[in-house]
């Protein structure tokens, strides 16, 4: 069992001023997930009459993309290729002090404590993250167009982005290029995505800029911190798509 000191960002609401508060927590088992440790803390806080720490979480198996904690200066904490919910306390030591902050970026305003508003990501998807096909039931047979396995696999790898925002929180410029390029790449690699390719990349990039995300300066930190291992190659692919769209457009 471990004893920890937690320094957690507390902020009442979007307009309030926030600060780091210190709590100590006993009896943390190494088998707990990071969020289960937070559950225990919250039970303790409520017993003491303190408002529990608000944080986003849902599936707790690393795929919904809800959880979003900046732990000791890293998005989703010290382990690689995991979300906060899959991070386990065995990665920490008895007596550790852990800093826990929200994913910070101007387009991710804080709602409360560790909860941020990531609807800017949704709005980028509304601008072009789709293929315009109606659900009439009359689409052609699924095997009518063979797709080279290598392309299908790369499209899948890009499509596994969970939209958590770790890339943005990690980037010194708060750039959303890894997130946007994952969706652009998925469709760019598939024949179905070709028809709207020009409009898609132009519209999504335009929306990304309007939301206030910064530019990419090829640091590559996003790729390192991405819990799903989304590759920087996608950014290169989006840049090519964007360039040729501009030439065409």
């Amino acid at each position: 069992m471990m004893r920890l000191t937690l320094k957690i960002w507390r902020q009442e609401n979007a307009t309030a001023k926030g600060s780091l508060q210190t709590y100590s927590l006993d009896g943390v088992s190494p088998d707990m997930s990071f969020l289960e440790m937070m559950d225990v803390l919250n039970e303790q806080l409520m017993e003491q009459g303190i408002d529990p720490v608000a944080f986003d979480h849902d599936c707790r198996e690393g795929v919904c993309g809800s959880c979003s904690m900046f732990i000791n200066g890293e998005a989703h904490g010290p382990d690689r290729l995991v979300t906060t919910c899959q991070l386990h306390m065995r990665k920490f030591k008895d007596g550790d002090t852990i800093h826990i902050e929200p994913f910070r970026a101007q387009p991710f305003p804080v709602i409360k404590d560790l909860v941020v508003d990531r609807t800017s990501f949704d709005r980028i998807q509304h601008a072009g993250g789709f293929i315009s096909v109606n659900t009439s039931g009359n689409t052609q047979d699924a095997n009518a167009i063979p797709i080279e396995k290598a392309d299908a696999d790369k499209a899948f790898d890009a499509a596994t982005c969970i939209g958590c925002g770790a890339c943005v929180a990690t980037c010194k410029n708060a750039s959303a290029m890894l997130f946007v390029s994952a969706k652009v790449s998925q469709y760019a690699l598939l024949p179905q995505g070709q028809v709207e390719a020009t409009d898609r990349v132009l519209n999504m990039v335009k929306q990304m800029d309007e939301e206030g995300f910064g530019n990419c300066t090829n640091t590559g930190a996003c790729e390192v911190e991405c819990p799903k291992g989304i590759s920087l190659e996608n950014i290169a692919r989006m840049n090519r798509e964007y360039l040729s769209a501009n030439v065409k457009g």
Partner: protein, 667 residues
């Protein structure tokens, strides 16, 4: 006892859906623009329904409690989606998918609904591919398939271990297109807290904005509930933390019958509970049973030695292991349906053969598969098949390519390497076949209120086959509801906008506000989770994988007592007008505390065993589930009468004209 009418169309089974579509009433494009539809939930069913209704021209308002529709729990489905494409040429057909589903459900589902599901399954794959869903493909560029439990063909389409994610993101993209066009108005971080009926018809909902706490009124001509299942009744399940029954329960209390509440799927391969702090359970995909062999030690003393850490499972000789599924079910072996596999694991653990600290785990072992694949690879490469080290390395590579992400997930959680030592698994609550009763049009017993996906009861009977939940969610949302809802809405083309300024809306809003105020001012001594955990324990211990009369009666009394204690002593911190997760949770747990009682009552009433519902009083000498077709070939549909104990049972008789009722055998 009222007779329930499911409005199943006349005619031969294979023609029913086509005939129905031909005869159903339509709403013209111009009139669709005048009609509003509310969709609650944005998983596979709700997301696909919202997108399709908007494409058709209706004005859609969609609601989810998550911060984005992309996070609905359909995202976590791993293994795959079934469709009767017969791309493998292994004898699959619509009829076979229909037959397997009815048999898998232990003959407690509706023939006509299941046949329609099998018919539209092929459209789903076409649709998803057109949307850019990146399914797994073979080297020829065509779609690949795998096998799932309870069937003898390969009809499961998949995208590695993230099929649900890819399908949900497909539905999300279809929604995004309509949100961009202004045809869907999306309300995320909103929870539905009541249904509003006007003149007996569903005409709107009351919601709470989870950021500001604001109570809102939303009106529409029809309300579609797509809020998923209620597995979190058990506290520990593979459901997401936020998954809840509230939307479905609120409509039940307003007059929608709730069907077969006790039909729950307990999935055999989940990571076992590690301690009291456990907040949820993680599934290991059924696809692992394609290659993993399930076993426990033959001797109790060996099991004890493994539990105490004195013996390593890899050191136990082959002849001292009991591959109990292969022993009991030689025909299907490790790929028996989920209910059968779960019960068999429980039986061994109850007998004292469990292999982890708590005694509630069995092994899922890949050593034989690693050896088999390794030898194959060595042979293909012209290397020495007798070099055991080489064979092991090659075999592990094959397993990694197939199940790498699942093995990584297991290692992160359990801190053991499943390539070196067998996985430990145990059954966990995963899916609920029961749900809101609907007719063939997917309409509940409240006119204008529909239920789709896991929220309804319609297609899986008493046990769902693997890879069929995704199929049903998308079938309902893309291809069934968008047709059938028109039949109802055709009467509403002259109704005009529904106003939220009415006594019905006033009353509904008032009741929501007073419920919230009661929680905030209660100032009890115990947290919401205390009650939820306790409820989960009662249901798991007394209404879990096996059930008997005495325990069910105890459960009914205990849940009732717990509910009373909850209202007396629950502590909800904070205010009503703010982001307040404990408050949101209290509102959900309040509904679970009512459902739990009805759940046990339903299980008590059905004194036969069928599918996932195992009554100890009704079993064969070999311990298999024993159905009682003479007395229980019906759907139990419960009508709310003030409180769960007074719920009134209605029976929808199930008739089988195309399938002969047989004892389900996987031996």
């Amino acid at each position: 006892m009222t007779k329930l009418n499911a409005h199943i169309p006349e005619g031969p089974l294979a023609d029913k859906w086509t005939t129905h579509k031909n005869n159903i009433r339509l709403v013209s494009p111009a009139n669709k623009r005048q009609i509003d539809v509310i969709v609650v939930g944005t998983g596979l069913a709700g997301g696909s329904a919202a997108a399709t209704l908007a494409e058709l021209g209706y004005n859609v308002k969609a609601f989810c409690f998550q911060d984005s529709p992309r996070r609905a729990h359909s995202i976590a489905a791993q293994g795959g989606i079934n469709a009767a494409k017969n791309y493998q040429g292994d004898g699959d057909s619509i009829h076979r998918l229909f037959y397997d589903t009815v048999k898998g459900g232990d003959y407690r589902s509706r023939e006509a609904n299941v046949h329609r599901l099998a018919e539209v399954s092929t459209n789903i794959i076409d649709q998803c591919v057109a949307q850019g869903v990146p399914f797994a493909r073979d080297y020829g560029g065509l779609l690949d398939n795998r096998s799932f439990g309870g069937v003898l063909v390969s009809r499961t389409f998949y995208a590695k271990g993230q099929t649900g994610q890819q399908l949900l993101l497909g539905a999300y993209s279809a929604m995004n297109r309509q949100i961009g066009r202004g045809k869907i108005k999306m309300y995320s971080r909103h929870e539905m807290l009541d249904l509003v009926k006007v003149d007996g018809k569903a005409r709107g909902i009351i919601t709470r904005n989870l950021i500001t706490g604001e109570i809102e009124r939303h009106a529409a001509h029809a309300v579609v509930i797509a809020s998923g299942g209620y597995g979190n009744l058990f506290y520990l399940s593979t459901n997401a933390m936020g998954s809840n029954v509230t939307a479905a329960w609120k409509i039940h209390k307003q007059g929608a019958y709730f069907a077969n509440p006790c039909f729950t799927q307990i999935h055999p391969t989940c990571i076992p509970v590690s301690g009291d702090h456990q907040s949820k359970l993680t599934l290991m995909s059924e696809s692992l049973r394609n290659d993993g062999r399930i076993w426990v030690p033959k001797k109790k003393e060996d099991a004890k030695a493994i539990r105490d850490g004195r013996l390593k499972p890899t050191d136990l000789a082959e002849e001292d292991r009991d591959y109990y599924l292969e022993r009991r079910y030689p025909a299907f072996g490790n790929l028996v349906p989920r209910d059968v596999a779960s019960r068999a694991a429980k039986e061994r653990c109850d007998e004292g053969f469990g292999v982890n600290k708590t005694g509630e785990a069995v092994f899922l072992d890949f050593a034989a598969a690693i050896d088999r694949y390794g030898k194959e690879k060595a042979h293909v490469k012209g290397l020495d098949e007798n070099d055991s080290e080489l064979v092991e390395t090659l075999g592990k590579d094959v397993i990694k390519a197939k199940y790498g992400n699942l093995f990584q997930m297991y290692e992160k959680i359990v801190d053991q390497n499943p390539y070196e030592t067998p996985m430990m698994i145990y059954p966990a609550v995963h899916y609920t076949m029961g749900g809101v009763w609907v007719d063939y049009n997917l309409m509940t017993t409240i006119p204008g209120c529909f239920a789709i996906g896991e929220a309804n009861f319609s297609d899986h009977g008493a046990n769902r086959l693997g890879a069929s939940a995704l199929m049903q969610g998308l079938a309902d949302g893309y291809f069934v509801l968008p047709y059938t809802i028109g039949d109802y809405l055709a009467d509403d083309i002259r109704t005009g906008k529904i106003s939220t300024d009415s006594p019905e809306f006033d009353a509904a809003e008032q009741s929501v506000r007073s419920q919230i105020d009661a929680f905030i001012t209660n100032k009890g001594t115990k947290t919401v989770d205390y009650f939820h955990r306790k409820l989960g324990k009662i249901i798991w211990n007394k209404c879990g994988m096996s059930r008997n009369k005495k325990q069910l009666e105890e459960a009914i009394a205990e849940v009732k007592a717990l509910r009373e204690e909850f209202y007396r002593d629950v502590f909800v911190p904070g205010t009503a007008n703010s982001f307040n997760e404990p408050l949101a949770k209290a509102l959900r747990v309040a509904d679970f505390l009512e459902l739990g009682e009805l759940f046990a009552k339903d299980a008590l009433e059905r004194s036969e065993s069928c599918g996932g519902h195992f009554r100890e009083e009704s079993q064969t000498p070999e311990g298999e589930a024993l159905r009682d077709d003479d007395n229980f070939t019906f759907v139990s549909a419960w009508e709310h009468k003030g409180e769960p104990s007074k719920a009134k049972l209605h029976k929808e008789a199930l008739t089988y004209e195309n399938i002969e009722l047989k004892t389900r055998s996987y031996k």
